[in-house]
Symmetry: C2
Subunit: 605 residues, 2 copies
């Protein structure tokens, strides 16, 4: 039943060698990996305007130079990540690059930061998508958490089905979004050029005493939140069709170009239209309204924008399981993240990401907006570490043209470092949590690594010296009476060794005599020892007996406890039988170095 | 930790031979077993008056003859149960008497009816006790369910501590209740005799056309609810100190005398004082108020009454586990009800009773008043069956003086049968459920019995013919690599037989070669078979391999699957290791007649 449902939701299992067919072409990769970055266009300009507006409408002209600065930063990031892709063709996320060039601790800082970030991405964007839906249908407002959870479930299932299938489903909305924003920008420019705009643009270059450097930096850093998601491509190189690194680099450039053009286009239109940020209506909505009026095109733009905000989460579904796989391969995360599921995806990573982000949505009752700055810092820390790693790499390896490459990464590093600091300084009350959980996550990585190392050391043998040693064998059979199960078990034991003893726990004298007499009558060729329990406990005398046997023979013999057990036909029938054998098994298993074997007898009725 | 808490709540384990010390003296037995019956005094008279009041205050005089009829019924019940006690000195509840003399089905009907009834008793009286508390402290009204659950938990723990301890705790409130009601009756009579009552008593003997036979019967049956709990003593004979039957019989007589005197006393005072039933104040409260005024004595009476209503539940805690034990001994209920706990009580019965009644309280949100008639019918069905059983017994055995005995039981049977019918006719809308759940419970008993019988038949062997058969042995060891655990397991296997084969599941060609080469280098003297899994599943190829081995050797050999397993030091470390061995074990265990043994290796760190 469960199996059938799983097949229906996720699809048939796929052979391991089908992995190559699951790889992404450039166009599909763009759809899967860029939704996070592109969706930032929907709120990037607005974030800048919101900060400037705190001083007054006259300051809004600053949004133009700030947007250009963000565009410059985007260019630097794209260029430096392009360099990373060619240096790390098998996947060069911030984790790998930092670990390789700076050291393990930096790698774990980058990796931990990104892992937490992907969880935040899913929580934040599913909440944002839900807000878009409930704005359109206010009646659904009370069911926000439920809607977010349904969305997360949907994304989780899509990704469990496999990445190409999810790419096919997700490509359409991504491209629709890109097309509709470009249509908006082109029509908007025409509209402005033909003098269709009545509101005056803010006076460009007006100096305002109230505008401080702090404010401008805060506005800049807010705009930088549009750059989150850029790193997704460099993490995901192994998912690309061959030649993977070339395809990944082209995809990255395409994404950068589209993102840059859309961002600067929206910022320009907002400036020309003299748009002021407004709690009730987004900037994109205002521009669309002013350009087309509230007609069909307006609603298409709004609908596709809501959709892309929600799909931004999908980028995390590609990146999280891959990063978890890499960390697990290096023993910093549990092995289970290395297992490919029926559909060849790292299903444990996908499921854990879905579960943790769902928990976050539930914990914050769907109000995850406050997590956005935290999430931006979580991106810029690995950005900085990754650039620093590349710098060290160029200095060490010094390939042809390394000075230019070093220069690009140095500029990139300094910029992202500054932005990280700006974030921490200007929005400390929203990002302080990172100083708590990042060390915790890194500690956890470290503890996991230690456990795996210790286990491996304990289990390692010397192939030349450590060989099997043959010993004698003593078998103890706890019996609860003389039945077919006991007969079976004794047959089995006697086939292995002559050294077999049966133990019976009696509660009174009468029972002792009865059992002894019956055993003598049966005479199965095995000695019976009857123990008396004064406290009606079977476990205690049995364990004491086993300890005596252990003490006497552990040196010379392997000791085996053979538990006769009948298996009921239906699981609920178990309630009718005392589960003493399970208790015995669990206790001995966890406490003693003794072999515990169950000899099953399956009941037919 | 859990063990310590258990010790603290329940006490140290007791030796089996301490059982005799746990037996009840007459006075303690009266406290434990009569609280249910005696507590009925608090509402018995009121139930009669409430029915009569539907016609008018003039009809209230009928309460006197009805009370006398109830007293007569009580006498008959006490006399006939006294006969049962002497006939069944080892415990003669309705289940035993009906099963012995009428047949198994009647026994199960009586037993099932009583079992359900005890659960109802606990639910109803804990709710009633809670109502008494929340009447005094209205602020607690929102926490009624919680208070009931705390009370049930308290009673469950007291009973798990053992019966004499619970008797010591419970005796005081029971005797306080009896004393305070007698003080009330005596002072009330003096008060009336000295002319202290102003309200006129209803005109005795006034004929009223509106009073139908149906109404009188309904009033009578309502009064009979005061008789529930009388059967508790005859069930509990094994709990009495020697000579058990004599002590039980005296206790029953004492209880009957006290109950009868209190009941008729309250009814008489209610008549003399001209008391009318009132939603806001109980009859006992009105009498106490009229006698003493709202002083200290009044509040003592009210408090003790509330306490006794709540403690009525305790009777069920004595009776339910004993009845469950008897049913389990006859294979109609799970074996677990036969196990005596650390403190020598039938702890499973006590716990199940507590759980089920707590569920009932939760399901009804603490409003269990509607269950009272159901609960009365549940008592009178076994009453009737038990009397019928005794009648048949006298006719069969014909001991000295059997005619008188038969007469007593016949009168008893006819009366209780009539009351059962009156209940069903006059309160059908409240008792119809018994016709649904009683057959269900009986069906369940029957199914459990069948399962035990089938299991016993399947497992039974012929001591003379069925002897152990010695066969060969084949051991299969699934290995995940070459480690100390595998070394251990191979050492063990080779100590038992030479017929050992190791199986390794590989996912690609390279892995196959690597493993084969390493195994050859190690050369542990055991053949390695490497299987390739195309779907990344370890289970499927392994099971297929085991099935092949089974097909080839099951005739000649016992097949053993030896699972090498390291045990982590802390349970949470298990999350870091794939639990494949557990999966393999569970599958094989439930599906195949193959011995599965785990060779543990305990990690030190």
């Amino acid at each position: 039943m469960v199996g059938k449902l799983k097949r229906y939701l996720i699809g048939k299992p796929m052979k391991s060698n089908a992995l190559e067919d699951e790889k992404l072409s450039k166009l599909k990769a763009l759809a899967v990996l860029s939704s996070d970055a592109l969706s930032s266009v929907a709120y990037g300009t607005e974030q800048i305007l919101l900060v400037l507006m705190t001083v007054g409408a006259a300051a809004l002209w600053y949004s133009l130079p700030i947007s250009i600065a963000v565009l410059g930063l985007l260019t630097i990031l794209i260029l430096s990540y392009r360099q990373t892709i060619f240096s790390y063709p098998s996947g060069g996320g911030a984790y790998i690059v930092s670990k390789d060039n700076i050291g393990v601790t930096s790698g774990l800082m980058a990796g931990g930061s990104l892992l937490v970030d992907y969880i935040l991405t899913v929580a934040v964007s599913s909440s944002a998508g839900t807000d878009a839906i409930t704005s359109a249908f206010p009646g659904l407002h009370d069911h926000r958490v439920l809607i977010s959870l349904i969305m997360i479930t949907f994304l989780t299932l899509m990704n469990l089905r496999g990445i190409t299938e999810s790419a096919s489903v997700l490509a359409l909305p991504v491209y629709l979004f890109v097309i509709s924003i470009f249509v908006l920008i082109v029509c908007g420019i025409i509209h402005y050029a033909t003098g269709g705009v009545s509101a005056p643009a803010p006076h460009y270059g007006a100096t305002l005493s109230s505008v401080s450097l702090f404010l401008l930096l805060k506005a800049f850093s807010s705009g930088c939140s549009a750059l989150t998601g850029v790193e997704a491509v460099s993490n995901a190189i192994p998912n690309f069709k061959q030649p993977a690194e070339k395809n990944a680099a082209s995809t990255l450039l395409m994404m950068g170009a589209i993102l840059g053009a859309m961002f600067i286009g929206i910022s320009l239109l907002a400036y020309w239209y003299g748009i002021q940020p407004n709690e009730k209506e987004t900037v994109v909505s205002q521009i669309a309204d002013a350009t087309f009026g509230r007609g069909t095109i307006y609603f298409i733009i709004q609908g596709v924008t809501a959709l892309i905000l929600f799909l931004a989460a999908n980028t995390a579904y590609s990146a999280f399981p891959l990063l978890a796989f890499m960390l697990a391969k290096d023993k910093f995360m549990p092995h289970m993240f290395m297992v490919r599921g029926d559909r060849l995806g790292f299903s444990n990573g996908i499921i854990i990401l879905g579960l943790l982000s769902a928990l976050l949505v539930i914990a914050f009752h769907g109000d995850t907006e406050n997590l956005i700055p935290l999430y931006a810092v979580g991106v810029f820390i690995p950005f900085t570490l990754s650039q620093l790693g590349m710098m060290i790499r160029w200095i060490k390896l010094r390939p042809a043209g390394w000075i230019v490459k070093l220069l690009i990464n140095t500029v990139g590093m300094l910029t992202t470092l500054s932005i990280t600091l700006i974030f921490i300084i200007t929005k400390f009350e929203q990002v302080w949590m990172i100083f708590v959980f990042l060390p915790l996550v890194m500690l956890l990585f470290h503890r996991i690594y230690l456990h795996y190392e210790n286990t491996a050391n304990e289990l390692r043998i010397n192939l030349a010296l450590d060989k099997p040693v043959i010993k004698g064998s003593t078998i103890v059979i706890p019996v609860a009476g003389i039945t077919r199960v006991v007969l079976n078990t004794i047959s089995y034991a006697k086939s292995l060794t002559d050294n077999v003893v049966a133990v019976y726990i009696a509660f009174d004298e009468e029972e002792i005599h009865r059992m002894e007499a019956k055993w003598e009558e049966w005479n199965p060729g095995v000695r019976l020892i009857v123990l008396r329990s004064r406290y009606r406990s079977v476990m205690k005398p049995l364990i004491k007996f086993i300890e005596t046997v252990e003490w006497k023979t552990a040196e010379s013999d392997h000791i085996t406890i053979l538990i006769p057990q009948f298996i009921t036909k239906h699981w609920w029938q178990n309630i009718l039988h005392n589960q003493t054998s399970l208790l015995i098994r669990t206790y001995l298993f966890t406490q003693k170095d003794i072999v515990i074997a169950t000899v099953p007898y399956h009941l037919n009725r």
